[in-house]
Amino acid sequence: MSQQQTLRPRKPLRPLAVVKNLGALLLAAVFVFPVYWMFSSALKPSGEILTKDPVFLFTPTLDNFGTATGVEMFWTYVQNSLVVTVGAVLLALAVALAAGFALARMTFKGRKGLVLAVMMAQMAPWEVMVIAMYMIARDAEMLNSIALLTVIYFVMVLPFTIWTLRGFIAAVPATLEEAAQIDGCTRGQAFRKVIFPLLAPGLMSTSLFGFITAWNEFAMVLILNKDKAAQTLPLWLTQFQTAFGNDWGATMAASSLFAVPVLVVFVFLQRKAVGGMTAGAVKG
């Protein structure tokens, strides 16, 4: 806090401050406008969504939300989405924490190669690999499986999670850990009691990344899980655009609802997720 304050110019020039604040407001408006448009379209009566002159004043209706959530098996999708997303994130955190620690703190053969592999793994073309993945799952009789979907999403977010956590772990001064060990902690205890608490921001921010990736995934679940009982919310989002008329109100209502968990997770995590994903890297 104190640091923040000292960062600001001592004697702010009035006109400059006005320009700055106006600029910030304008930018905020630009960034928020599409989001506002999504929410407001969700609340509009159907005839007022697409109009030659945009409608800004209207009587809000919750009908669109009713249509969106009234879909058959809605709650199954919600449940599946939550299981798959939370499962993938937790798995990724656990596995990445171990690997990240080894990569950041230990020297072993093949370490550099592994770092390179983790970096390159982020370029994996998942969209195209859908068919390869599908053929593997089909031949292994693993279609319509929530468990398989969870581990696929886990691996999708794993490289990024390892990379980021590694940076965070590296940023914790090794002297801290050594001090703890001198004080009688085992290496495991030192990790648990000293490093882990300091990793909170990294854990939070990588979880958010994993959450969003898994939460939005569409191509894989469309082909792998044809049984409605094993499908997730992204498929629900596309249900309202049909050949027989696009229910834009319901689409936007569904999108709004779909965005809410991400916003909630962010607001919930934001205090802790201070460092941001590159903080580890920033401190190299």
Binding site: S46, G47, L50, T51, K52, Y134, R138, E141, L143, N144, L222, I223, K226, D227, K228, A229, L235, T238, Q239, Q241, T242, A243, F244, G245, N246
Partner: protein, 427 residues
């Protein structure tokens, strides 16, 4: 005690659930431990009224004890990949609805069961010949025709009355009427016609004696660089000039029936039965009263209406289905005369059933009446496995239309399109 009670309630609830909605849950196999079987049916969103499907399934389940029908409504988005992969699985859906332009493409893959031997059981003799064409490949039957539909001109009676225009019989009368409409109300589009309504263009090409593609010595080739296509496109351009619709979009983006027409300012448009119904419903929701008249797309001469694309769907049985016989039974029932009659009635004639005898007796002046008149001149896209590839976006026919509407030479644009069609259709 308590746990037992919960378990008992749970089992009862599960059984009730199964009995009530015929949803076997994860029972994907051919039969469960008790010998109960589940027939899974994929239908596209909007193809069948729910009440009709329920009735078919009730009758089917009554005839086949211990068998449940599980209907899964499919969304159009990503459907090709979904169907292809499904047909490769060990437990595919038993019955699948396929678009009539796509059926041949799946028939050659070996993924569909050969129904040639079941013709009698399915009542194939009664099927409309025009609809049968898309269900057969090389003389073998791979699906049962289900329904078809074609486009007609939908018009606003009040606007036509005001301008003193009556439904035209020829193209010349049509254009003259549009001129009158334009003069009577400059703020209204005489016709709403986006630049990429390629099914409409297909009709004009057939009217000229041309086609979209023809087989030439074992290979297919596109026919858009022909003089026939050029004159069809010329007429399309004339019509399109009456509209302020975008030149680079089709009728579904934005949806003409629900996004455009209800806003007013459109005197006529070319659409399908469900589009007309959708527009009326949207008008009502907006607090307006729609009063539509219908007429077949006029031909070059008054003796017959213009050619139209006969869109529709077929029902096929998956080759890997574990319940092939039951699936065929379901097909025979759903596509049979009795249920098709009910189907035609349930859709109020907006969709043509697969046999003449099941036709809905359309009221005078209704959409169905005009559609049936036009259907006499119905045609389908080339029946070949590769056609489905031509239709996928970016559709070369649509690109061709936009180019010509924007002033490019028809022959030149046609050549580019034909090249693309040839590379896709022969794959």
């Amino acid at each position: 005690m308590k746990r037992k009670l919960i378990a008992a309630v749970g089992v009862a609830g599960m059984m009730a659930g199964v009995a009530a909605c015929g949803n076997g849950g994860d029972d994907k196999g051919s039969s469960d431990a008790n010998g109960n079987k589940t027939v899974t049916v994929w239908v596209m969103d909007g193809s069948a009224p729910k009440a009709w499907l329920d009735e078919v399934n009730k009758e089917f389940e009554a005839k086949h004890p211990n068998t449940k029908v599980k209907v899964e409504i499919q969304q159009w988005k990503g459907i090709q990949e979904k169907v292809t992969t499904a047909l490769s699985e060990n437990t595919p859906p038993d019955v699948i609805e396929l678009g009539n332009t796509q059926t041949a493409g799946y028939a050659v893959t070996g993924g569909l069961a050969d129904l040639t031997g079941d013709k009698a059981k399915l009542g194939a003799d009664a099927w409309q010949k025009g609809m049968l064409a898309s269900a057969e490949v090389d003389g073998k039957l791979y699906s049962a025709p289900w329904y078809a539909a074609n486009r007609v001109v939908v018009y606003d009676k009040k606007a036509f009355e005001k301008a003193g225009v009556t439904p035209p019989k020829t193209r010349d009368e049509w254009l003259a009427g549009l001129d009158k409409l334009k003069a009577s109300d400059p703020a209204t589009q005489p016709i709403y016609l986006p630049g990429q309504s390629w099914y409409v263009l297909a009709g004009f090409i057939w009217d000229e004696g041309g086609d979209l593609a023809v087989k030439d010595g074992g290979k297919w080739k596109g026919q858009l660089a022909t003089p026939q296509a050029a004159s069809a496109m010329e007429f399309y351009k004339k019509l399109q000039a009456y509209s302020t619709a975008p030149k680079d979009k089709d009728e579904a983006t934005p949806q003409q029936s629900t996004d455009i027409v209800p806003k007013g300012g459109v005197a006529s448009w070319i659409g399908l039965g469900w589009e007309a119904q959708g527009a009326l419903k949207a008008l009502k929701e907006a607090g307006k009263e729609g009063d539509f008249g219908y007429f077949p797309i006029p031909g070059k001469t008054a003796d017959k209406p213009g050619s139209v694309f006969l869109g529709g769907s077929n029902l096929a049985v998956a080759e890997r289905s574990k319940n092939k016989d039951l699936a065929k039974e379901w097909l025979a029932l759903a596509a049979g005369k009795d249920q098709m009659t009910k189907y035609a009635a349930a859709t109020e004639g907006a969709l043509l059933p697969n046999q003449q005898a099941a036709n809905f007796s359309a009221a005078a002046g209704s959409f169905a009446e005009s559609m049936a008149k036009a259907a006499a001149n119905g045609r389908i896209t080339p029946v070949t496995a590769g056609w489905a590839n031509v239709e996928t976006e970016p559709n070369p026919i649509k690109e061709y239309m936009t180019k010509v509407l924007k002033g490019e030479d028809a022959a030149k644009a046609g050549e580019a399109a034909d090249k693309e069609i040839a590379s896709r259709i022969n794959k």
